[in-house]
Symmetry: C2
Subunit: 254 residues, 2 copies
């Protein structure tokens, strides 16, 4: 990296046209050479999904000094994989997903296409960060996030992250952020998840909706507590999902 | 559960017509009341993805003594969520994903729709197991798996699983299985992931493929080692992806 500016790969799940990714680029563009490979349409809730049954394609949108933007027909995870294979001239120093329109803390990490970007960057051995603002508004105000996004990116570029770990950063949609908290994933459950849309003969139609139920609302170590109380929540996240604590017990079963 | 047979929800990602789910039903049908809600078409590589931008629908396929089968237009995760909301008369005692056609050990856990079923069952507070056979053949031989599938299901019905944990069970496609091993997730990387399919004007088409590279091939604790050596690999898996070991270090950064 001597004499080279950091190379930063950016993707998201709200798609190339979203305000969140534009605002992210505005915040981080001075910090390195930025390459964007983002979905050409919104891909919320796509998790780490892959396109396995058809080809995907990408196209250059714009090339400017220090910023190159591609759009891609695939999922967020496809975007990262394809960028590594095609348009990145070297292994990037950082992969960023976001800034997402909507909360990806707590159990939402599993459904998040933004975190799909981040998990994939991490699996490729690159420090990776997901940023999400807790507002689904297309025109949400990302401005208060800027200072924190830049500070977190600076720290990760300086210090790196251990293997198999990445950061899931969620930001409350408030004007005055109180600071940063290092958190664990909140245990929560989605309830009343479906709106009954219609019945046609024997076929039943439902639309996904739902109510988020925090199962530990008073625990100050959780990411959802931080968000509820005006803090930026940084949840260190692992791609090694082994439940190590259960291994010895299971050995007694067989 | 007194006087009640266990209620088992089954889904998969290869779709309702796959051999793997039929074979699973043959193995487990004597063990409880089985309800299937499975995708109407193959949904491989869909991870924990959700259908957020259109309604989904389900239809009864068949109702028999102890076995009810529904097909659903959604993702594997949608299937689980929708079954809980609509067709299950009570909270099930077990959620099973599979039997998948193809290996979901190692880093593949993140892309797997089969494990999407299992993670969702786990997030709903129900003991959940994913079964995958390491063969993509549509007509793969699932017969040697039967004994192990039944044994693992029996143990989990007896003993349950701790909160936030589930099982990722992978089975080598061999005639003679050597037994069961309790494993951790292998660290691995996918390489050469894209086949360049075509270029049309400025648009570049690629098809997902790839070579699996095991980064710790000699580690006997890993799931891939177990599979390579003829054992059924049981990897206990957590839905709490917090990287706890990194929390203290991160607190010094801000």
């Amino acid at each position: 990296m001597e004499n080279q500016r950091p190379l930063i790969l950016v993707s998201n799940d709200d798609g190339i046209m979203s305000k969140g990714i534009s605002e992210l680029l505005r915040f981080i563009r001075p910090m390195g050479e930025v390459v964007v490979m983002a979905p050409d349409t919104p891909r919320s809730g796509t998790s780490c999904s892959l396109t396995t049954n058809e080809p995907i394609h990408y196209t250059l949108v714009r090339k400017d000094v220090g910023l190159t933007i591609y759009k891609c027909s695939g999922t967020p995870t496809d975007c990262v994989k394809l960028a590594f294979h095609t348009v990145l001239e070297r292994k990037p120093d950082l992969v960023i997903g976001g800034i997402n329109h909507g909360d990806n803390s707590s159990v939402n990490v599993h459904y998040s296409g933004t975190m799909g970007v981040v998990m994939e960057g991490c699996l490729k051995g690159v420090p990776s960060i997901g940023f999400s603002l807790c507002s689904h508004e297309p025109n949400a105000d990302f401005e208060p996030s800027g200072t924190f996004v830049r500070e977190i990116v600076t720290r990760v570029l300086e210090k790196g992250l251990p293997p198999l770990t990445c950061l899931n950063v969620n930001i409350p949609a408030v004007k005055e952020l109180k600071g940063v908290r290092i958190c664990r994933q909140t245990n929560a459950r989605w309830e009343n998840e479906w709106e009954n849309f219609a019945h046609r003969n024997d076929t039943h139609y439902y639309w996904l909706t739902g109510e988020y139920k925090n199962l530990e609302p008073d625990d100050e170590l959780t990411d959802h507590w931080a968000l509820d109380n005006g803090y930026v929540a940084i949840t260190p996240t692992t791609v090694d999902v082994t439940a190590y604590a259960l291994m010895d017990e299971l050995k007694t079963w067989f």
